[in-house]
Symmetry: C2
């Protein structure tokens, strides 16, 4: 049984102290539990403090062989081992089997038990009292200990830890490069993650059939679930090293964009697999129903797109609120509004039975794309810094916890066969994602993704917070416990070793580092970029469609945006261009103060509406166009920010767009 | 029984879904509860959004008759009424009385119940399953409904909502004016709150004896507890109006300093009263034991000073960490360290059975006084803005909740007699705090606190978050429930009416407004200031001992600091001077980069240690002295910040210190 400690947050212990001796004992007990909980949280706080100080030492001495998340994991492992083996466990939790006072025939257990104790004349007893007990979950092994040592309820990961991490990922996305590589990113994230899940699922199932003692405990659905939870990659470690080394921005966009989106895909996919299992399979059987399968796929698509829709809508509403009110005059109110709207996105999605994490991701992207442009400079900085800090704390907390829980979480199940198959399949799944899809992508386009980039994408496939959170969410069966153990080990080892070797990988694969935003490929002729048009950027390349097209359209408002793609249009580029065009003509003028205004882009018949939706600020300013539209003021971290400021001379693409604009 | 909803945070519902039909029902139920909880949190998020938008409208239109907290309360009341009367209550919580399966003879109830259900062959039943239930509290009335509608566990106020508010109060304290008025503030906060508690307690007890139906339900300890919880004042509303109107800074310091400290006093005092009741009184009796009383007083002093010590120590450790490491090179790490250290202060105090809220208050003061000076400018801004935002959200949440819970909290007990006595005694208690103590303070000092200031202090005695949190913490008896109701009403009415009339009060009492920091009294000769030395500031007044004495000492390093007190030293000034001297000579050089260094202030024998504790930065910089020492860069809010920036020309006191320095 998973018992939450979470205590400081919970402290559900009622302090009913009205003089009676037992009440005082009860109060003392409640206080004792509260202190235990405080100590528990304190442990993690100190772990984080130790991580922060060590990270500083490493950065100070320019050591790159271990990233902060790797450090957090290692410290967590050490502390977990100390807790596990250093202290004799004095289990203070008492449990008592009870039976109903009256016959109970409903199919689900009640929410609250009333434990009635009648006066015990002989001892000090309770007197005639009733205590309330609330439902926690099912107990699967009668002999399993309820262990409160340094563990938290898994649901806090989904409700407290992941949302700020995912929101920050969306909010700090470098949208220009993200949209430039949209096709490849969507391919890797949507198709790749699904393919990887099914391949891992099938392979694991095959392996399980080969290992005698495991063949009965895993259904295909179990291994498929494992495939879904082990497929998403974690960007943190790699991205931070990419940042430090100023790696090629397109590779950066591919790695970051993919790992952000595949988290969202994995959580919805695993939910769909679970729903499928719940609805259509009787326990133990392994029957596969085609209809049910398509229903599950429908679930997947429906939940994903509805969550996306809610996130995007809330982002747009925030943009409208900040555009049409002058709340920016009061930055504190504005920041509060921003935070509250973003948080309510999560809650709305959860309350609608959708996936809050996916909703906040797209909310974050919209907030960055539209709302950010309307904010006062104070609020921009405040929200950026706030989520950066929250992200840092949440991220390090989860990695500390992965380390500690390796030793303290009572539901681990070490099975060497499953662990080895898991590692093997995780590698294979990653390969099945990167190489075939890159091959397919390269078929459809002239500018190919080079083999070195593919190797780097393969090596950047660390597993992280999302895999762990999905694995620890459900540990009711031995199969699920073996999955948790294997997932934890994969996360720990990939974060420490793959993360630690990231800069080594970069040099092995000859990835250009130390390059500047727009000029990166010009100065590295030996290396082919994702888009070869970047190599010939002097001819007026098509990159940064958002920004560029804005100005292109102003010079040719008839909407002929086919120019500049170098005569190599493909479907993705078309999709991206259609959206970019729509975005620049309608969405941005509606949601931000950018030019051209709706008065210019909407047909004449809509002029009254357009006038209503255009602010005077929008009408009066005219040189704000490319500033507002650029995402260069929205960066990942401070160093990045400094670096961009240092390189603020107009680069070739910007230069062109500026010329067409002025 | 108080049932927590807190749900998003909690989500203790285990999702055990492994295929069986009942598991799916269970899962659906868990999901339903999770959705309810999300909806519940969503309600408050939307309330806060509505408050933010309305506050903006009010500020935009320069309406001052209603402060944001007042608005939050009013919106809360409206929504609470809608929930209460607008929806038919469909209670989905099922409860079941149970008895132990085996004899149970311990004096306190077990932590976990195992509810065993054996296979029910006839129905769809559970199968052979065991469910875990965890302890929630005692049920006092068998018929009481467990109501989950829009309520939270009271403990979240102490563990989540109050800490950031109190930390922010300490962190944003204008220390210069606070220390200048230290004597009066300590008098009002320590003595005043205690006197007020006892007077309210005694009066209420007397009133209760006069009202027949109440005479038996309230012990003296009950009314004393009520006195302690209704005595602390809330600064928020008043202070925000003071800020807007640029009120006299000494009055500002008195009001703010007192209300910050009396929150700390009240929480410890009410704890001591409760402990006294638990330990030394048998239920129902009203026996007063002198020894026990002094033990309770010892409790009070001990817990208060130990909490203070922990808070101050952690603040100083943070200062040392930020001084002696170059973590400031990485602002994100530095901010994270700052937040983690401050949060661990709370946890350490709670884990030691002390009062976390008091510890974070003094931690906040120390962080502002020492650590803040060592931080990078990025971290200064980030931490300031972070806590400002947290404070804003927490504060408005608690006032919304006060409004909503007035209708939805199931433990209200309206007793008109108690309510009227409560209002009367709260007013009288405030008067008994302000007027006699001002009289005493005026006896001991030549510069008197004018009667108009006293009236303003009296009128600034709104009740707020702390009173409510203390009242809702314990609602087991009817007496306690009547206290909660009365406290809620007092908070709501004082916040709306006293808060709304604040600017009116200021003009009635001729309080100088629109004045600048140091010159305020010079331009308002008609109004006497707290220190009349301020009136003759041209003679080189003693104000701002911290800053001024630093430079004075550098010109006369023998330590003759008696100069400039105008020949009217009294004990408080002496105390403040001794501390100020010690602070400037030893604490600041040790904990910050300020001058003089320890090399200059420590005796020669300690030079090696002093050299160790002095940074090169400290040695090399020399014009940082007064900048570092000033607290003018640490402000309450943005407007304040703007205002100070606007008035940054050297004022008379600063002018003098600068001259003596250069």
């Amino acid at each position: 049984m998973r018992v939450a400690v979470l205590v400081l947050l919970l402290s559900l212990v009622a302090r009913n102290c009205d003089g009676a001796a037992t009440d005082i004992e009860l109060d003392a007990k409640a206080q004792y539990l509260h202190r235990l909980d405080s100590l528990n949280l304190l442990l993690y706080t100190f772990l984080l403090i130790a991580t922060v100080l060590t990270v500083w030492t490493f950065k100070h001495r320019r050591l790159r062989f271990l990233h902060e998340t790797g450090l957090a994991v290692i410290y967590g492992l050490i502390v977990g081992a100390i807790i596990r083996y250093g202290f004799t466990t004095s289990n203070t939790i008492q449990h008592l089997p009870v039976v109903p006072a009256a016959p109970y025939n409903q199919s689900i257990p009640p929410d609250i038990l009333w434990f009635q104790v009648f006066e015990n004349k002989t001892g000090g007893g309770f007197g005639n009292k009733t205590y309330a007990y609330s439902f926690r979950g099912e107990i699967y092994k009668q002999d399993s200990e309820i262990d409160k040592k340094a563990t938290f309820d898994p649901e806090i990961f989904f409700n407290i830890i992941l949302p700020p991490i995912i929101f920050h990922a969306g909010y700090s996305l470098k949208r220009k490069y993200f949209f430039r590589n949209l096709g490849a990113i969507l391919m890797y994230a949507l198709v790749g993650t699904t393919v990887s899940s099914f391949i891992i699922g099938a392979l694991m199932y095959a392996f399980m059939q080969l290992i005698p003692h495991l063949s009965t405990s895993f259904t295909f659905l179990d291994t498929l679930y494992f495939g879904a939870l082990i497929s998403p990659t974690d960007p943190l470690t790699i991205i931070s090293i990419f940042n430090d080394l100023h790696v090629d921005v397109n590779l950066y966009a591919l790695v970051f964009g993919e790992s952000v989106l595949n988290d969202a895909v994995a959580i919805v996919l695993s939910g769909a697999i679970q729903n499928y299992g719940e609805r259509y399979l009787t326990p133990g059987s392994n029957k596969f129903e085609l209809v049910a399968f398509f229903q599950a796929m429908g679930d997947f698509v429906g939940i994903f797109s509805l969550s996306l829709f809610i996130g995007a809508t809330m982002g747009c509403i925030t943009a409208l609120l900040t555009k049409f009110t002058r709340v920016r005059d009061f930055p504190l109110l504005e920041s509060a509004l921003f935070v509250l709207m973003s948080y309510s996105t999560f809650l709305i999605a959860e309350a609608s039975d959708l996936t809050g994490v996916v909703a906040v991701l797209f909310c974050g992207i919209c907030q960055a794309h539209y709302t950010y442009n309307n904010l006062s400079s104070d609020s921009r900085q405040r929200t950026k810094q706030l989520f950066e800090l929250l992200n840092f704390l949440a991220e390090n907390f989860i990695f500390s916890y992965i380390g500690v829980s390796m030793f303290t979480f009572p539901k681990h199940h070490f099975d060497i066969g499953f662990i080895i198959s898991g590692f093997f399949c995780a590698l294979l799944g990653r390969a099945a994602n990167v190489y075939p899809l890159s091959f397919l992508l390269n078929l459809g386009r002239k500018p190919k993704i080079s083999l070195n980039f593919q190797h780097m994408l393969f090596c950047a496939g660390l597993r992280g917070a999302m895999s762990f959170a999905l694995a620890i969410r459900n540990t009711v069966s031995e199969a699920r416990q073996a999955m948790l153990t294997t997932t934890s080990l994969i996360v720990i080892l990939t974060v420490i070793f793959q993360g630690g070797m990231a800069s080594q990988f970069l040099s092995w694969f000859n990835i250009p580092v130390g390059v500047d935003e727009e000029v990166e490929v010009l100065s590295h002729n030996g290396v082919r970029s994702v888009y070869n048009s970047m190599d010939t950027a002097g001819s007026g390349g098509e990159g940064g469609f958002g920004e560029l097209e804005l100005h292109r359209e102003r010079s040719s408002p008839d909407g002929s945006v086919g120019v500049g793609t170098g005569g190599k249009p493909n479907e993705k580029a078309l999709l991206a261009r259609i959206w970019g065009n729509f975005d620049t003509r309608y969405m941005k003028p509606l949601l931000t103060h950018s030019r051209p205004t709706l008065l210019e882009t909407l047909p004449v018949c809509c002029t009254p509406i357009a006038r209503l939706l255009t602010t005077t600020q929008q009408m009066t300013q005219d040189d704000m166009g490319h500033k507002i539209d650029s995402d260069s003021d929205l960066c990942l971290d401070e160093q990045e920010f400094e670096r961009r400021r240092a390189s603020s001379q107009p680069t070739h693409v910007r230069g062109i767009s500026d010329r067409s604009h002025v």
